[in-house]
Assembly symmetry: C2
Homo-oligomer: 320 residues x 2
């Protein structure tokens, strides 16, 4: 069945793509075959990650980028994992309706990603969805996410270029940047640049960047000012992305992405195996009862389950 | 060595606690023994999660809560994983200095958590740090984090009560709430309630909450208005936490927390084992080379490594 689905993805059948994404999102064993069938066709799409606080105008920017890239003849996919995004929420047709300017364009595929469970599930599902779009011949996959925290660092791991979008006036964002997100941005966008305080924000960013003394051949994140509602600056954003794409070794970033995906898959598969093939019915509940009663600690419980799964764990971890 | 460290934690020696947290944060096998030694002493601390967008005044609220709880005779721990928080960043002594009003109080322990690597590392490290504080006899552990995304959902999994803090005026937050965070809040705080638009935000929240038709015996998240800078409303927050604590079954939430920790530990341990005991030197790089060349897909690579680790995986996952 997944063989037929793979063919539909490669033929760029929208419903086939939608179904394939749902399949790989669920991470069942049934879809591993689909990933295998598609993987050889991937590696051509360029993944653009866009993050920033709520209200920074990311969705309007994405809309502008879609229009621009379509005009240039590229196919575009959007994976929206921003709960504040108009792209987000609802079913596939709903997604398309949220984006009326591109609703009838077969060269645009929009998909919202639901917030998911444990173990970096969201980043993993997004990576898998990007892989499906890649195999379908999508030139550019835009991943839109919200915030300035750990979730965004995870997203960076799967994107080829990371764009952080800020707006003048809040002030808090720069603090956040100083504290952690500075390292993950390849490009900064100061949106709503017609607002009071835009130049001040740019200057603050410049100052922060100058602290991260980049080497002479290192990429120095440019700061692009935009007014997404009018389209001002969109060309500069595209030019910055092109420059980064040319300057950066895609292989380095992709290696990180592959490494991340491999680790994530190892973890998910090991847990799936233990739940299905190691644990007896109801045993997981019994273990949780024992942990609740403090008769067992989660570390010992994990080691015992892994031993039963076949791992030859030493007794070292408790002795040192 | 960890045996002595466990004793120092239980004796509430601040440097011992700090070292123990660093130890469990690193997740090395060396500290599994420490977790085992401490685990029987845990289960008494109440974990309070506070999240919200940057600039919502979370740190000032936390400061107010510390003062109030200390006055009532409770010991308090703070785990700050908000990059915009004044609690965050720097070493342990640095953390204390950032909080001058509590710097000399032995009943307060403040710790910033660094943003960490893959696989939900931050939530896992925070859970482990909370466990150390719990074993040290800390009555209340406040976990402060920023944002409205996946990271916060992870935090909810480790807290006994989840508080979402908002401020009037932005508007975006309510959208975000509607889209996803509504489900994770046990209590809402509208901070800076002396600002224009506070009542409107409360009304919008009420309207959103009424859509989530709670059953007659279900908890309906209260909305508490505060002005953290003046301390107004702090008592109402504490009262709301007490009511939630009385109304909710701690065991349900804690079971979820234990389950989460067990899964996380299984994943981390399995990967650690594969890297140390299954892979030959340089082999991980070779696998990544093969994936980059599209000669191997990450799903097949993961299965092969798990088989070599001892798991009896069937061939089913590729066949369906």
């Amino acid at each position: 069945m997944t063989a037929g689905l793979a063919e539909r993805v490669i033929a760029r059948d929208p419903r086939g793509i939608a179904r394939a994404i749902s399949c790989v999102e669920d991470e069942g064993a049934a879809c591993a075959g689909l990933v295998r069938a598609l993987f050889g066709r991937t590696g051509r799409a360029y993944l653009i990650g866009i993050t920033g606080p709520p209200g920074a105008g990311k969705s309007t920017l994405v809309d502008r980028l879609i229009t621009r890239y379509r005009r240039d003849g590229f196919t575009v996919g959007v994976l929206a994992i921003d709960p504040t995004s108009p792209f987000s929420g609802g079913a596939v047709l709903g997604d398309r309706l949220r984006m009326p300017s591109h609703a009838t364009d077969a060269g645009v595929f929009i998909r919202s990603m639901a917030t998911r469970g444990h173990l970096g599930g969201l980043a993993r599902a997004t990576a898998a969805a990007a892989l499906v779009l890649d195999a379908a011949g999508t030139d550019l996959v835009i991943i839109e996410t919200v915030g300035v925290g750990q979730g965004e660092v995870d997203i960076v791991r799967i994107a080829d270029v990371s764009i952080v979008t800020l707006v003048p006036g809040a002030g808090d964002e720069v603090q956040a940047l100083k504290a952690g997100i500075m390292e993950i941005a390849d490009i900064f966008i100061v949106n709503k640049a017609d607002r009071e305080g835009s130049d001040r924000l740019v200057a603050a960013l410049e100052a922060s960047l100058s602290l991260h003394a980049a080497g002479p051949h290192e990429w120095r994140p440019p700061i692009v000012q935009t007014v997404a509602t009018s389209g001002l600056g969109t060309d500069d954003v595209v030019a910055a992305i092109d420059r980064f794409r040319a300057a950066s070794s895609a292989s380095g970033r992709r290696r990180l992405r592959n490494e991340y995906q491999l680790r994530e898959r190892l973890a998910a598969r090991a847990i799936e195996y233990i739940e299905r093939d190691v644990l007896a019915a109801g045993e997981f509940d019994t273990i949780l009862d024992q942990i609740a009663a403090r008769e067992l600690d989660p570390y010992s419980a994990a080691d015992e389950l892994l031993r039963r799964a076949g791992l030859k764990l030493g007794g070292d971890s408790g002795a040192t």
